[in-house]
Structures are given as C-alpha cells and as structure tokens.
Amino acid sequence: MNPITRHEFVNLYRSRTVRSVASVMTVVVMIAALAGLVTQQHQVQERVAASEYARERWLGQGAKNPHGAAHFGTYVFAPVRALSGLAPGLDEAFGTVVRVEAHVRTPLSGRPMASRPSVGPFGWPSAVSLCELLLPLLAIALGHGTFASHDGAGLLDSVRTACVSRVRLAAGKLFGAQLAMLACVGPMLLGAAGLAVAVEPSTTNLVCILGIVLGITAYAWAWTAVSVAISAATERASTSLVLASGLWATTCLLAPQFAAAHAAAEHPMRDDMSFQRAVRDDLDAGMDGHDSQDARLAVLREHVLAEYGVARVEDLPINFDGLAMQAGEVHAAEVYAHHFDAQWDVLAAQERVMDRASVLAPGLALQRWAGALAQTDLAHHRRLAESVEAFRLEWVAALNDALVRGSRTGDWEYRADVELWATVPSFVAPKPAEIGSLMAQAGAGGVVLLGWSIVAGALALGLGVRRLSIRGGR
C-alpha cells in the first residue's frame, strides 16, 4: 500500500472525532436497520392474517345473489417486499389496503405514515435514508482537513521536499480518506445486509442487498472525494468544514425538496375531487361525451336479442341483467384505466424530473437505486395497483358470469353459495421482478452515483495536485 495512503488512513482512523462520528452513525443506522426489519416482519404477519380473514369472510358470506356478493366485496392487502425494512422507498407514501367491489376502482388507502407520530423534518428513519443524510457528514469529518489542516501546519511542504510526486501525494491522501471511510461504514453496511438476508434468504435478495450496499459505498466515495476536493480548495480546515456542510445542506436538504416541489408543479396531479368528478362524468356520458349508458344498453340489448332470436329479454335463456352489468363493468374499467393511467403517467413524469434533479442531489440517486432494488419504487407500486385492478375485473366477471348462466332476466331471488365463492379467483400478488429488470429500473440512479464518484474523485485529485503545485511553487 502507498505509504501516504496508509499514513492518511491510520491518522484518520485514529482520530477521536472521526471514530466518534462513525460510532454514533453505526449505532444509529444499525438501530434503524433492526427496527426496519422487525417492522417489516410484523407487516408480513399482519397482512397474511388480514388476507386469511378476507378469504374467510368471503367464503362465509352465506347464500346471496352474485351481484350482491360483488357489492359485499373483498379486500386486497399490499404485499411486503423483503428489503422494504431497509429501503422503504415510496412505501410510506402509498396505501396498503383496498376494498375490491363491483363498479368502482379505488386506489390503495391507509398510508403507513398516518399511524405514526411526526418525527421531525426528515420523515420516518430507515437505514438507507439515514445513510443518505449522515454519510456525507462522516465524509466531511474525514476529509475536511485532508489538505487544509496539514497545509496550515506546514506539513505539505515537508512531504513535498521529500521528493514525493504531487499526484502520488494527492492520490495517497484521497485514497487514505476513502479507506478510512470504508473502514468506518463497511462493518455497518455488511451487518445490515447480513441481517436483511438472514430474515429472508434468497439469491435475489442477496444480489439486491449487495447492489444497495454497493450504491451506498459509491455515495460515500463520492462525498469523501467532494470533502477532500473542498479541503484542497480552501486555506483553513474550518472554512473547508463550513463550505462542505453548506454543500451538504444544499444537496441533501434543499435540493430534494425543491426537486419534489418542482416536479409536482411541473406535472400536477388531479386532486381527489376533480378526479372523481371527471370519472363520474365519463361514466355517465361515455368518454367521448355522446355514448351514454342508456345508448350502450340499447345496443347491447338489440345485439343479444338478435343473437338468441327472441323478441324480449324475458325470453332469453340467460340473465340479461348480468350481461348488462358486465358490459357496464367493461366500460367503467376503460374509463377508470384512462384516468388512472393518466395519473400514473403524471407520476412517471414527476419521477423523471426527480431523476434529472439527482444529478445535483446524489441522495436522490441513492434513493432511486435502493428503492428500485428493494422494489419499493414507483414502478413497483404501479405494477401492484394494476394487478389489483386486473384481479378486480376477473373477479367481477366471474360473478357476473355466474349470474348470467345461473338465472334468467329479472330473477333477483337467485342465490349462489359457497360453491361459487370458492371458485372465483383470489388475488395473487405480482411476482418479484427479475434481477435484470430491477437493475434496468435502478439504472438511472446507478449512473448518477457512478458519475458523481468519478467526477468527485477526479476533482479531488485535480484540486489536490493544483494545491500542491501552488505550494511547491512558493
């Protein structure tokens, strides 16, 4: 190992300040990781129990008309992903439960944050969010005096006179700081990753958690390099510290909030009331404004009567009401899909704004990377919402079909029982995505993290060499 690197590493690692900051951080992040994993396991159990209750309730509803059963409804509970305890991503902002019934598509409600007390300005702490917030501070503690303090003590000149090349000296200092950072956060990250894999061991989890650890390491590398670069560009250690802290406040506190506000302003969502009104208008009048419900029903009636060769719906061997309801359901599904897709597209556009903003705020890139790998990002929530709707349509269609085939038009006394309830489909959560597709989703965040690491490293080296050149010239 380069002796300068070793010297820098040992010096930093022995520093009481660095060790204190690293110890506090390790304790805080490990507590958050443990708490996250315990909460995640509790959520898994509660949702399994809730799903069993929903099934039991559905089967035990007694004999009733299938359409009555469709209004009796059932429940779907959002599945809990294995790594959500460490990287909850957008889980806190999306709902966890939805009542599934005929005619109506509702988004999942019941955000986890609603049943928790307010915890200050930075939301509910998770291992990844704490790393995002605190790792830069550890990096600043490590790197702010790399050049500035030694320069003040006149040590740089002494080393330079010992015929050490400027590049070697600057690189030694940078890599020494990086090694110290790795030594500080390595055990913590591996500990948290080990816990997560031990809770739900699988190859996908292992690969994803390693990916998250890699992302956090890149983030730590980038911040350490930035801190060293600032140290190389400033005369005094205290100035370097204040400047680096200012940069941290700007990129970790301000930029994400500005980005989120800008994204929401540039791509506004419809609020609840206007969304419901637009859906209601389209349901009543048809999406083109001319194809009203009555008109659609008349066309369907004519078509069915012609198909069966009878003059009145009462003469049909099937229940026309069931057919009409299924047709209405298909139309409503189209209307809902039109409006919900538009909302999801708005959110996707907001996510693109956040991706662009992550170039200035690498914390956002880390969130994107970790959220995608933990399957707690926007794409995952959209997939879940769409799978719930697909299930709802299949479920209602099965009940309407039973009504059509099991009774005649106007026969509202028809009753189905548990035999039918047991055959209608149950909700199956979408399978976890393949590693390849997760990596593709996480790509935007990964590229930014990599870019920051390379640019910050080059900047630290460049400014370090320049600083040494100036000193050498004096």
């Binding site: 999306f94 915890v119 989120a260």
Partner: protein
C-alpha cells in the same frame, strides 16, 4: 456594553460571510413565501371547484330520481356537502406534510372511515420528501446557518489567549458576554426576523399569531447562538468548534425528533391501516344484526308506523338499511375514537421524548400557529364525524317518519363550510414556555462552560 455590541456588529458586517448568509436566507425565505402562497392558492382553487360541484349535485338531487328503488331523501342525503378546515393567516408557514390530509371532507351519510381524511391523489415524492416551507427554513436551516456563522464565537480569543485578558480587564464579564451575544444576535438573527415579518406581511394582514411567531423565531435564534457560544467557549480550535456545533445540530434537529417518534410508536401501539380495516370490517358485519335489532325496537316504540316489508312497501328496504347504517356508524365511530385517543397518547409521548430538542419544540410552535398541528387536525376529523352523525340522524328521522320530501331541507342541504374548530393562541403557550426553558438551560450550561476553568 454598547461599544461591545457595536464592535461585534461592525466586525461581522465587514465579513463577506455575513452578506452571503443574509443573501442565502433572504432568498430561501422568498422561495418559502412563494411556495406557501402557491399552496394556499391551490387549496382555495380546490375548494371553489368542490363548492361548484356541490351546488350542481344539490340541484340534481332536487329533481326526483326516476329509478323505482330510489328514495329521494337518501339521494339528498348522499349529496357530497363538504366541511372545510378554516385556514388561518399563517397557514402557509407549515405545509410540509399537511397535504396528506384533506382540508375539505365530503359529508355524505356513510359511516366514518379511516381513509376519510386521507388525500389519495398526491405526489408520493412530495409526500416522502416533504414540501419546502417557511418552517423548514426557520426550524432546520436557520440554526445551521447560525452554526456556520457563530461556531467561532470566542474560539479566536481562546486560541490567541485574549479571552482571559478580556475576562480580567472588562469592567463586567457578564455584561461583556451578554453584549457579545447581543451583537451577534443583532447581526445574525434580527435580519431574519425582519424578513420573516416581511413575508408574513406579504401573505396578509398582521395578526397576534404573527407577532408570536416572530418572537419565537427571535428566541429560537438566541437559543442557537447560546449553544454555539457554549461550544465555542470550550473549543480548542475553530474546526473543532464547527464539528461539535454541527454534531449538536444533527443531534437536536435530526436524531432526537426521529428517536422520539420511534420511541413513541414503540411504546404506544396504534393499529396499522391493515389491522384497522379488518377490525372495522368485523364490526360492520356485526352491525347488520344490531341494525335489525334497532329496527325492531324502533317499531316497538312507534306502533303507529307500518312494519316495512318488501312486498307491501317497495321502498321499505331503506328503513332497515338506514338503521343498519346507524349501527355500523356507531360501531365504527367507537373504533375510530379509540384510534384517535391512541394517536393522541402517541403524540404526547413523542412530545415528551423530544422535549430536549429545541427544533422539535419550535416545529410544534410553528405548526400550532399555522393551524396544522396534529391536535387541530384531529379535532377537525372529530368535527367532521359529528356533522356526519347529525346528517345521518336527520335522514333517518325523515325516512322512518316518512316525512314528505323537501329538496331544500336545511339539515341536509346546508353546506357546513368552515367548521369552527376552536384553537386559540393559548395552545402555543406550552411550546413557547418550553422554548424559553430550553433557552434558559442552554444559557446556564454555556455560562458554566465559559466560566469553568479550561
């Protein structure tokens, strides 16, 4: 004393750092002002649209529906009349995560539901990260700015050894210390208070709440100056002082409130949305039987009423349906009341656990002055539930008594706008007292640090 104050101010005014600090915070406050204004305009626009939709729905309900099973009273009862949370003059101050709650809730006859007050169509990014607001600038960034600008308070004197000289030579050390801190306060805190005052004046007319907010900002700034002074008085170097002050900031602004929240949610268990849904659903199923029993007892009490049967009265289903609804609403209401009590206890525990953090205290004071504190939102939810209950009672009474339909019945058509949730200035007193107490404790500790031998 005056010459020390003047010296501190002039020395700071000559630094570029002070002008940068003032420019940055001036800019941030202007952005926060615009952000708050945009939020307020959005809320007003949403309310206007809701009011318009409500008028249209009432007009449509006044026309008797043609469907054979419809009951006009119930159609009227289902019209989405809205209840709005009154917005105070300081509402735009704290808009961080208030968007997740609806400030305008539909008052139809449905039984209460935990998702009633939950806004669903909301940017998850904004919800996750939080909206930028004046509270963020004042509570989080302002102390960070003070740490940057005042971490070197007395460090230079200590390093040069002139601190001891001042202590010996100054006519009164106490007055010198106070004058130094006052000088910094005038240069660093007073301009921020003035800009905050300007922002509030831009939003609307000055109120007592605004004066209280400005006073709180002034005390909060003083508190952080005292913390910096205490650290600086013992620090061996400016870098050490900056690191320690930053660590204190992280501890008091980030870690303590988060730890208090985690502790409160661990100590006081509140059912999650999933558990709550299962519990409510179980109660709803039981309510069906309870509703039938209610119907029987009601008919026993009123023998003059015909017994509704499906064969004799095609609209008869509405009566047992409404009584089931009453029973269901009562049961769900009881479950949700318990939930609200648990949440209130959880908030109290979190407040006690975070009492050591001035940032948590200041956040609570600002949110209370803005009218967006959890207690007020809980009271608003309670008021909505109560209004709904009254509407349901009125509807049940009219349907069961088979009263002639009146499309203008005030019990069902009056828009219950602006529920008066009474919250006075006195609600901020505990927070203000705690803030002053923290200031006194910080002053005592700093005094000890300054006077104790190094």
């Amino acid at each position: 004393m005056m010459h020390v104050i003047r010296h501190e101010c002039v020395a700071l005014l000559r630094t570029r750092a002070l002008w940068l600090y003032l420019a940055v915070f001036g800019g941030l406050l202007v952005v926060a002002a615009r952000s708050g204004e945009a939020w307020r305009d959005g809320v007003y626009a949403g309310r206007a649209a809701a009011a318009d939709a409500q008028h249209r729905s009432l007009a449509a309900a006044a026309k008797l529906p043609e469907q054979p099973w419809a009951v006009p009273w119930m159609t009227l009862g289902r019209v989405p009349v809205t209840a709005e949370l009154p917005m105070g003059s300081l509402a735009p101050v704290a808009i961080d995560r208030v968007g997740q709650y609806r400030s305008s809730v539909v008052l139809d006859i449905r039984p209460p539901d935990p998702s009633d007050g939950e806004a669903r169509m909301l940017s998850p990014f904004l919800l996750d990260i939080g909206a930028f607001d004046l509270a963020m600038v004042v509570v989080v960034l302002f102390p960070l700015g003070l740490v940057a600008m005042a971490h070197d308070l007395w460090v230079a004197e200590r390093v040069r050894g002139t601190l001891a000289l001042v202590e010996v030579c100054a006519p009164s050390t106490t007055r010198w210390i106070l004058a130094t801190i006052l000088g910094r306060w005038l240069a660093l805190v007073a301009p921020i208070v003035v800009v905050v005052a300007a922002v509030i004046a831009w939003w609307g007319p000055a109120t007592t709440e605004a004066a209280v907010l400005l006073g709180a900002v002034a005390v909060y700034g003083l508190l952080w100056l005292i913390i910096c002074a205490g650290i600086g008085s013992r620090a061996p170097s400016a870098a050490w002082s900056a690191t320690a002050a930053l660590a204190v900031w992280i501890g008091l602004v980030v870690l303590v409130p988060a730890a208090a929240g985690v502790a409160a949610s661990t100590l006081v268990k509140v059912p999650s949305a999933v558990e709550l849904e299962v519990e409510l659903e179980r109660d709803s199923l039981d309510a069906e039987e309870a509703g039938e029993a209610l119907m029987e007892s009601y008919l026993d009490e009123h023998p003059e009423l015909p017994r509704p049967t499906r064969d004799e009265d095609p609209k008869g289903w509405a009566k047992p349906y409404l009584l089931v609804l009453q029973a269901e609403a009562a049961r769900r209401g009881a479950v949700l009341d318990t939930l609200e009590r648990r949440l209130a206890t959880q908030r109290e525990v979190a407040a006690v656990a975070s009492a050591v953090s001035p940032a948590a205290t200041m956040q609570a004071v600002v949110a209370t002055l803005a009218g967006h504190d959890e207690e007020r939102l809980a009271e608003y939810r309670g008021a909505v539930v109560e209004l709904r209950r009254r509407r349901r009672d009125a509807l049940v009474e009219r349907v069961l008594q088979a009263r002639p339909f009146d499309a203008n019945d005030p019990a069902l058509t009056t828009a219950a706008m602006d529920i008066a949730v009474p919250r006075g200035l006195h609600t901020t007193v505990p927070g203000l007292v705690l803030l002053l107490g923290q200031c006194v404790v910080a002053a005592a500790v700093s005094w000890w640090a300054l006077r104790a031998p190094a």
